[in-house]
């Protein structure tokens, strides 16, 4: 799910059942922030780039509120795990696994992502 990127002319791609889906230019992502991606089937993905250039992707929908907003949260690291905190009620989600760090019974889908 993670990959270091050397240049910014690359595309961020998500692995879907049908193959790699091109989301956007890697440089369109602000380090430390996310962006929402619309998939062909209507699902939404929150795509992040950290300050080292690594990419992450999880489902954009906040399972606690139903709003599609996880891409707009603030990111951080907790015990070495990268996460995003929902901008609505502040639960944190592991960017690599999609697990909710504040409620182990909750998890969102994590996507494999690469820069190519």
């Amino acid at each position: 799910m993670t990959l270091a990127v050397e240049t910014t002319t690359l595309k961020a791609q998500l692995r879907l059942a049908e193959g790699w889906f091109t989301a956007c230019d890697v440089h369109a992502l602000l380090p430390g922030r996310g962006a929402a991606v619309l998939l062909p089937d209507g699902r939404q993905v929150a795509l992040f780039r950290d300050r080292a250039g690594r990419l992450y992707a999880i489902d954009n929908r906040d399972p606690f509120t139903g709003a599609a907003v996880l891409s707009r949260g603030l990111t951080g690291t907790h015990e070495g795990r990268p996460y995003v905190a929902s901008p609505l009620l502040k639960q944190r989600f592991d960017l690599a696994s999609g697990e909710c760090l504040d409620d182990e019974t909750v998890r969102v889908t994590a996507y494999e992502v690469r820069a190519a």
Binding site: T65, G66, G73, G76, P82, P87, L89, V106
Partner: protein, 874 residues
């Protein structure tokens, strides 16, 4: 008439006459010793309300209500089964029958009677002393009457220039009256200060606009046609034209009840008691507080000795349990609680001890006078401080011991001597730090080490220290910190898991090293494991806010979406709008002071209609438009900016609104133009990023229609200018604001607010509203006043310069954003489909407008933390 004779075998009865400050403390002392469980306790309270904080009486005029002053927790009374009869004084005591008859006719049989009837104000026997317009200053009812009468008065006089007289004079001045003080002695506060101190005090008091007449007595109150006060004749033959007179010429013990039942009283009054506070006449009767003549032959007019007597009496009543306390005399230290005047005296202030020496420092230009009285062996015996009572807490506690540094260094201004003052760490354990409640340094240390208190509020609760006059709170804070450090309690005051520094420390680092990048700060000053990492959602916005507050002086961009800063902002700041529950945003244009012309109202209406937004008037006197999608924000704002609107920063930890009332322009009561002032203030501080949101309001008169006293900084018009209140809060934990300064001109007001805000921004914690900050910082309001009014830290020039830089550097961030195509690319729902709206954002109609159509959820809404934005970080 009911008669309560005790049935055989029933619990023994304690009857307390007088429910004042000392009476209430006595009840607490009974409860602490378990006596309320074994005894029936009856309290006769003459005043129409149970015990309240008489020491803080004057603060009624700076906004504290009668309820705020109350010291009586009804839960306490109920929980301990205390029978409290409010408004029912004791009329007759029959010592032979051991009964008390109350005014209502109730009769109570007692085993133990405790008299705590306090004092009455002494009114000199001058002609017409009871005329309409003559008052005393002792009870809440007195204050209510003074306040009412002052509405129709222009000039007032206070007879008596002692501690209370000056407080009363300050109150009259605050009510807008031209105020005179008439003092028989040759100087003000004759009991507390010496001639040198009196001279410095006189300059300060006159500088506040009060007229002082010393060395003259009051000969007669002159009355007008209707029999009301119209003036007074003084002993030097002169006449003062005044509309009202407040007598504050000392107090006398209320011992009539005791006299009537044959208890011995002193020559000059006061019920004679022994060292256990038992009356010398009758072992079943005690007297405590201001009505008692103590075993050392004195009647104490202060609350601290009264509290000690309350404890002593309770211990004597509990004597079976072996406890013995004795009251053998008390300290007479006092500090004047008058706005803008620092006067304190402690110990042997007049140097009456055999062979003592004086150390005096005086600077008449600065209104400073400090004297220490030192014994031959170097023991600190007492002193007088005028103009700067900063060291009062420490000096008072050191009294009776030989200070570890030279006496000179204790009075010289900071920096004049290398001695570097003297911290409370140097105090011995027996030193009494809180003299109101007789709490020693040892007890405070014990609260930290044994009772695990880690904050000043906890220590206050645990020891009662600092709960009365408040003058010891600063020292308290220093002691708690020192003790925590010494006992190795690791208090991690760090901002979060990434930074070991507090927000205040980070502010200083950013300012002095001119750091403009969060990553730079994290990599250099972060905790070891956090360096080079991503940071977290706590420190990112906090550091972004510090950088934004300091932007003009450290050379950062003041624009919050620039470069790296964009990544640090909370989602609201990142979108310059407030995220709503369904993922849409609300839009709040600034409407300074709540004033808006019809044309602009129409623009808002048109925009809301065209974009299908829900509109509502906010609690902040402006209009909110809800339901905008991310990609609509720039389009909406392009039209708003075009029509002359600016960002309202409803999304930022920044100035929100300055509310106003219509004020003197329209209102028949208004005394100043509150709308203009509100607009000026809102425009001055707009865009200022701060540790938490900032709110303000300006009212045109004391009726306070703008609710300024619930604001971070609130302004209320007076006949002479403006009163400035700070530290108010609505929300979850409401707090009335405190009066910081009175009768300010426009320029003085703005200068003080500039300093106050910048001092707050500099020293507050993340998400700490001014109300919480004011309660937390050592020294509280007094310290803040010292810093921003008296410039005690010498930083006011710097604070003002920071604010000037902010004002000069302000730009509307929405105007900037709509003109920056690069920034606009971020306002989309999808990075790969910029024209597609988020399908989750949907609406249904309600009351002719829209509301979110919320998706059904598999799990409930459970906030992770920070339910209130201001709650403690994880």
């Amino acid at each position: 008439m009911t008669s309560h004779t005790r049935a055989p075998g029933a619990a023994p009865t304690i009857v307390l006459v007088g429910h004042g400050m000392v009476g209430q403390r006595f009840l607490e002392a009974l409860a602490e010793r378990g006596l309320t469980a074994t005894h029936r306790v009856v309290v006769l309270c003459e005043e129409p309300r149970p015990a309240y904080d008489r020491v803080a009486l004057t603060s009624y005029f700076s906004g504290r209500t009668a309820e705020d002053l109350s010291m009586t927790d009804m839960e306490f009374i109920d929980a301990h089964g205390i029978e409290l009869y409010v408004g029912d004084p004791a009329d007759v005591v029959d010592r032979a029958a051991k009964t008390v008859t109350a005014r209502s006719g109730r009769v109570f049989a007692y085993d133990t009677l405790v008299l705590a009837t306090g004092s009455y104000p002494f009114v000199p026997p001058v002609p017409n002393k009871d005329a309409d317009g003559c008052f005393v200053y002792r009870t809440i009812d007195d204050l209510l009457a003074i306040e009412e009468y002052a509405k129709g008065a222009r000039t007032g006089a206070v007879v008596g220039g002692g501690l209370l007289g000056l407080e009363a004079a300050g109150a009259l001045k605050g009510l807008g009256l031209d105020t005179h003080i008439v003092e028989f002695a040759p100087r003000l506060m004759p009991v507390q200060v010496d001639d040198g101190g009196g001279a410095a005090l006189l300059r300060t008091i006159e500088g506040m606009g009060l007229s002082v007449h010393t060395g003259v007595g009051t000969q007669e109150i002159v009355t007008g046609a209707a029999g009301a006060v119209s003036g007074m004749t003084l002993s030097d033959g002169s006449e003062l034209g005044v509309d009202m007179v407040v007598f504050s010429a000392g107090v006398r013990p209320r011992d009539q009840l005791a006299r009537d039942c044959g208890l011995a009283v002193g020559e000059r009054g006061g019920i004679s008691v022994d060292e256990r506070c038992r009356t010398v006449t009758d072992p079943h009767v005690f007297a405590i507080g201001e009505c008692a003549l103590a075993a050392d032959g004195r009647v104490y007019g202060l609350v601290a000795p009264g509290y000690e007597q309350a404890e002593t009496a309770a211990a004597a009543i509990a004597a079976d349990e072996g406890e013995q306390l004795a009251f053998t005399g008390a300290d007479l230290s006092t500090k004047l609680k008058l706005l803008g005047v620092d006067v304190a005296s402690f110990g042997d202030a007049h140097g009456t001890t055999e062979g003592c020496l004086d150390v005096v420092y005086a600077d008449s230009r600065a209104g400073l006078y400090k004297k220490l009285v030192v014994g031959r062996d170097g023991t600190l015996l007492g002193g007088v401080l005028v103009g700067d009572a900063e060291a009062y807490g420490t000096l008072r506690a050191l009294t009776g011991s030989v200070p570890p540094v030279s006496p000179e260094s204790l009075v010289l201004p900071a920096g004049a001597d290398s001695g570097d003052g003297l911290g409370p760490a140097a105090l011995p354990d027996e030193a009494v730090v809180c003299s109101c409640n007789n709490v020693t340094k040892g007890a405070i240390r014990g609260a930290v080490t044994e009772h695990r208190c880690t904050t000043v509020p906890e220590v206050k609760k645990c020891t009662k220290a600092g709960t009365t006059c408040g003058s010891c709170v600063k020292v308290l804070g220093q002691l708690v910190d020192a003790e925590l450090e010494a006992s190795g309690v690791e208090v991690d005051k760090g901002l979060c898991g990434c930074f070991a520094q507090t927000r205040e420390e980070l502010y200083e680092i950013v300012l002095s090293l001119r750091i403009t990048s969060y990553q730079d700060l994290l990599d250099r000053y972060g905790r070891e494991g956090a360096r080079g990492g991503e940071g977290c959602e706590t420190c990112k916005p906090a550091v972004a806010s510090v950088i934004a507050s300091l932007a003009p002086v450290i050379g950062a961009s003041g624009y919050v979406l620039d470069g790296e800063q964009a990544a640090l902002q909370d989602t609201n700041d990142h979108h310059l709008a407030n995220l709503q529950k369904n993922g849409s945003y609300s839009v709040v244009p600034r409407i300074p002071g709540g004033e808006i012309a019809p044309e602009k109202l129409i623009v808002i209406g048109e925009i809301a209609r065209d974009f299908g937004l829900y509109t509502k008037i906010t609690g902040g006197q402006r209009i909110d438009m809800f339901g905008a999608r991310a990609e609509q924000l720039p389009l909406i704002w392009a039209r708003l900016v075009d029509a002359g609107f600016e960002s309202g920063h409803a999304y930022g930890k920044a100035l929100r609104t300055v509310k106003s009332c219509v004020g003197s322009t329209w209102c028949r009561y208004g005394v100043q133009d509150s709308v203009r002032m509100a607009i000026d203030l809102e425009l001055r501080y707009r865009g200022l990023r701060s540790p938490h949101k900032l709110k303000s309001a300006v009212s045109g008169c004391a009726r306070e229609c703008a609710e300024a006293q619930s604001k971070d900084f609130g302004v209320i018009a007076t006949a002479n200018g403006w009163n400035l209140y700070v530290g108010g809060n609505g929300g979850a934990t409401p707090r009335h604001a405190d009066l910081l300064a009175q009768d300010l001109s426009d320029a003085e007001l703005v200068r003080l607010i500039d300093r106050f805000l910048m001092f707050y921004i500099r020293t507050a914690d993340r998400l700490e509203r001014t109300s919480v900050w004011l309660e937390r910082i050592p020294g509280g309001l007094d310290h803040v006043r010292d810093v921003v009014v008296h410039d005690s830290l010498g930083i006011c020039d710097e604070l003002e310069a920071l604010m000037r830089a902010h004002v000069a550097g302000y730009r509307d961030e929405w105007a900037e954003t709509v003109n920056d195509p690069e920034k606009l690319t971020r306002f989309v729902s999808f990075v790969n489909a910029p024209d597609t709206p988020d399908p989750v954002v949907a609406f249904v109609p309600e009351r002719d407008q829209i509301k979110p159509d919320l998706p059904l959820l598999a799990i409930g809404r459970r906030p992770a933390a920070d339910v209130l934005e201001g709650s403690t970080p994880r």
